[in-house]
Structures are given as structure tokens and as C-alpha cells.
Amino acid sequence: MNRRRTVLALATGALMLSACTGTGGTSKGADAKAADDPSKVSGTIKVLTQRTDLVADGTMKKYAAEFNKTYPKVKVEFEALTNYETEVKIRMNTENYGDVLLIPAVIKKDDYPRFFASLGTEAERSKKYLFTDYTTVDGKVYGQSPIGVIPGFLYNKKVWEEAGVTQWPTTPAEFITALKAIKSKTDAVPYYTNFAAQWPLSQWTSVNGSVSCDTQATAKLAEGDPWAEGADLRVGDQLLHDIVHEKLIEKDPTTTNWEESKPRLAKGELATQWLGTWAIIQFQDAARKAGVNPGDIGFMPFPAQKDGKFCAVVGPDYNQAVNVHSKNKPAARAWIDWFTEKSGYDKDNLAISPLKGAPLPEVLKPYEDKGVKLLEIDDAQGARVKQIDNQSEIGIYAPEYRQNLVDLARGAKKGDLDDFFADLSKRWTETQATLGS
């Protein structure tokens, strides 16, 4: 009996101890200034990245070697994380999360100064770089994306031509007609949902801004109802619903395969997928491996026009930032600046340069020819949108709600589309009200 009591005491003691953990000390508002003389910057920095492929095949090492030509005394180490978001989130409860890292989506914008060192003021940086307002808190910028991406449809040009569609559709209805033509005239699957891989479905949120051609589209999400008649998200969701409802998709969406979808689209077994410019290079590689022409991979904007012109939203990829606890802030800063401006990472990925006034990559030549209007959305309300999204548990950046939409459209889930949208509207606007403004 006595012994049992000792164990109990021991156990309770341990419980009490552990219950006290959780909050750590906070330092706030350090700066990572750019050094004047590259040869004097020294130290070893650890760079966290989600690009496991580039670390594995040595591409990142090549960047580091190139970097060392300018900054000879800095040693760069890479750590690739397969499940970037989740792993970094847990590590950020400590001070040890690399010197340079990509800002995970979970970090609240207001908390940036606690976790990252500032790269300078927005007034000064926005003269040279794009996307600065995505990471600006109180006038200071905390991150910089090395590439810009445009959302759009990747399609197989040959299949589309075979179906007799040579012009980009300009309305959702025309888009559906085009897919129907593909279904009847070719053997290809008109549209591939990538339902099982989940995240490709959440890409549909990036139609925001493309429909209305409005740089204030994000502010509208924060203040208005994204599923009101004619609102950007509603138009996108309606199109996705119609594509699925008209059976213009693969036979069994629940067992789709993302890696397999790349060569299949290149070979013309699949005709279209909604992704972004970042995917072009991956699909071209898949085409080369499959022995077909990479030039068949085309890219087109969302089928909506404003004043007779298509609009395409240019947004940042992951933003790179300096850990506020880093011992080598100048070296970390040097890496971010060099990687953004001089590494050629943007060109290697056929992506848009984050530098203002840089030319578009070759794959987007059709965009230039057709006069597609490129616009950068104002992200001042981005933090609030995320907050509403989390609080309402809708998840416009998560796959569940679009999986439900697809299930509804193909009849696996009972219900009515209008009710579905009405429910989303209700939850979104009610949360807006409870959060205040």
C-alpha cells in the first residue's frame, strides 16, 4: 500500500512539473541588416526548405557554391523537410528553427516580429521588390518570396486543338463547352481533379482576384461574403462544381494519383488541371521522361474577362525569413538577398521574378501576346482572412470544403448546391461579426 502511494506522488509531481511548460521568453523586433562588404560576412547558416527534391539532387548545393563566390566566408547548410508546415510549426516552439526559413502559413502576421528579424521598411523595399505587403507588420517587412506564381489551367495543347478549341475560353460556360468537346472528340479525360492528393483542390482559392480583376479582392474576402452571387470564390467553385457535375472528370476521383497525373497530362491522357505556373516545369520534366514534347504543356488563365481582357493574379510563393534568434543574421540576410536577386532560382523554375520590372518567363509569352493583365493583390487584410477562415473552420486554404463540393457535385453527398453555398456564406459572415473589425 505504502509503495503504491510513492508511485502516485512521483507521478503527480511529474504531472505538475510538465503542466508548467508551454510559454517561453520572447524577444521582439530585431533587424537583419544587409552587410556593406560581402567579404566580411561570415558564419554557418542553416537554411530550411520544403524543396526536398532540390536538396536530394544537389541543386541547392550548386546554389550555395555560387553564393560562396560572393560571400566566401559563409557556410550554407540545407535541411529539407518533407512535411514542411507541420514540422516547422512544432520546431518554432523553441528557438532552434534554422537561420533562414520559409514562413509557415500558421504563424499569425502579428507574431512575425517575435519569430523573424526585419529585412527593412516597406517604403524602401517595395521600390525594388514585389509582394512586400504580404509580410509587412507596422511598416517593416519580415520576408521575401524568391519567386512569383500565377494560378491557371495547365493543359495539353494537342488535345485541346484536336477537340477543335484553339482560343482560350472567356467565360465559365465556354470552358464547359470546350471540355465537353474534348470528351466527345478525344480519348482524354477533360479535367483531372486530383481529389485524393487533396491540396490541388485548395488551389482553387487562388481564383480570387482573377474573376473581378480587383486588387482589393482579399479585402473583399475579409469584409464581404465570398459566396455571394458573382463573387470570385463563388464563380470558381461553381465552375468546379459544373465540371464535376457534367462528368467531365476522371471516372473515380477518390483514387487519383498526383505523381502519375504529370506524365499522363503530358501524354495527352488528361487534358486539363487547375494549378499554377510553378507546376509547368514539373510537367515539362515529366513530359521529357515520358518521351513526349514538353512544348505541348500549355497554360491558360481562368475563363473570365473584365473589359475584354483576362486578368492573372501574381502572388508570392513561400516567403523566406531570418530567424529572430539567429546568431548569424548578416549571413542569413545575405543568403536571402542573393537567392532572391542573383541565384536564378526564378528562371530555373520558369517562374516570375520578384524584382520589379523583370521580364516574364518564356512560357508566359502567350500571356503577353494576348494582353493578359497581371495584377498584384493588396494583402493588407490577408491576416484577417486567415483568422476568419480558421475560426469558422471552413478552410479555404484546406482541401475538405472542396472535397465536399466535389462529392456533392458527383452525387456522393446529398444536398443542394445553393444550400451548400448559403451555409458557407452564413458561417463566414457570422464569424466576421463575432471577430469584430
Binding site: 508551454g22 507574431d111 485524393a196 487533396q198 473515380d252 483514387t255 473552420e393 475538405e400
Partner: protein
Amino acid sequence: MTDTTEKAAVKAAAGAALAAPAPAPAPRRARVWRGVTPWLFLIAPLALLITFTYAPIANMIAYSFTDWDGVSPELRYTGAENYTEIFTREDLFRVFFVSGYYLAASAVQIVAALYFATILSFNVRFRNFFKGVLFFPYLINGVAIGFVFLYFFQDGGTLDSVLSLFGYHTDHAWLGTPVSANTSLAGVSIWRYMGLNFVLFLGAIQSIPGELYEAAELDGANRWHQFRYIIAPGIKPVLTLTVILSISGSLSVFEVPYIMTGGATGTETFVIQTLNLAFRFNKTGLASAAAVVLLLIILVVTWVQRRLVPDDKVDLT
């Protein structure tokens, strides 16, 4: 069937073995040493148990009273707010219906495991081979199983090919509708965990002395009688344990549906939902509360079951 329950069971067994009291009186110093020795041996397992089981649980309970988002340095104490939310939002509890599929599957699984264990405990040709075959799935990593079965259920995949060998050409999307998807996933669960139940039953059956069967045969008992009057009562404690594990396992299904469908098409279970709350919507506080609720439900289920089926001593004589 959770990992932790098994580990806890193993640890408890190890602890009990080490703490066995030593006989015979001895001088005082020696007696003190004798009292302390088992504890010295226990330091390592206890430290592990506390660090990796009880400390996280305590932390989880602490978080369940806050609005922590999982990363922000600031967390606010919100009292029982998270618990109120869980019990007032019926959509959070609706996912328990999915457990029904797995519960039904457990019943099938136990019956099948019992059947095979009984047959293979008698002298059957190739019985060691069959034992291996039945236990094998349990040894495979859950993630691998998820991927294997994704190909299995794919349109034109293994299952469709096998069915067409028998001339049955199906055009069924196995994971396509909630009912069919849940049934398929529950089927995978049966395949995966039957081996464990089977081994538990087999071990229990083999501890029954062989003379009993001989005596029974002399008295004219057939195989069914032997099962009914010797095996079934002989393995009752193991049977009860399996049922408890199956029920708690059904309530906390996770790996198979998470990997195969990610909770889409109505296959979301309570654990997947909790995970989404914590990592998708950054409501770590609410998710902790949900985890605590699940823990309590499982404890209650176990307790009720122990009351209904008391764990009495087996007496075969």
C-alpha cells in the same frame, strides 16, 4: 487498437515481474536494499512512462483549457469554453457514426480470428505456414498498407482485376460513396488487425492442457462440443480483452482512413477531425479538449464493460 495500450500493457507486465517480492527475512541493511532494489530497476521504465505518456497527457489537459493555436507564445486561459463547444456542436459528434462501421468490422474480425485460431490449434497440415500468413499483415507498416490498398481499390485495380477473373465485371468506385468507402476501409482494418487477435486467441487456446481434449473425445465430444465447453470458457479473459481493445480501437480509428481518403467522402473519424482542428485550423486548445473527451469515452466504455463482464478466474477442472 492503439499502440499505447499495448505498450502500457507490456510495461505493466515488465514492472510486475521486476517488482516480485523476495522471500526470507534478512538483516536490516539488507532489507532496506531489498526494498529499494526493485525501484532502482524501475527507474528507467518509469521515467520513460512518465516522460512519454503521462507528461504529454498532463500537457494536453492543460492546453484543453486554453485557446492556444499551437505556435503563438501567447495563450489565454478560457476555462471550460472548449468543452462547452464540443458538447454543444453536434457536428463534432456526428463523426462517431463512422465508428459504427469499424465496430461491425471488429465483430467480424473477432469471429474470424477465433475460427482460425481454433482450427489451427489442432493438428492441421501446414499449420505453421497458415499462422504466418494470418499474422503477417499485422507486421506491415500502416502507411504501406494504406498505399497498397489505394491501388487495390483503384478503378481497374487489383480488386476489379480479381473479380473479373471470376467473370464478374464491376464498374464500381469502391471509395466513391460514403457507405462503400467506409465498408472498404473497415475491410482493410479487418485484414490488418485480425492477425493480432488471432495470435492472442491462439496463445490462450494453446495454454489449455491437451489431456482435456483427449478426455472429452473419450466422452464422445465432437469438435463443436470441444469448442463450446473447453475452448470458449478457457479463453474468456482474452476474449474480453479483445472486445475492449476492439471497441476503443473502433472509436479511435485513424491511420487507414487518414492515409487512404484523408477523411473525404464521409470517412472522417473523430481522431482525423481532432487532427484537422489542431493542424488545419490551428485550434490546439479545442483539439486537446476533443482528445480528452475521447480518452474519457474510452475509459467509460472499458469500465462499463468490466462491470458487465467481470474478470473471473478461469477454472477448467
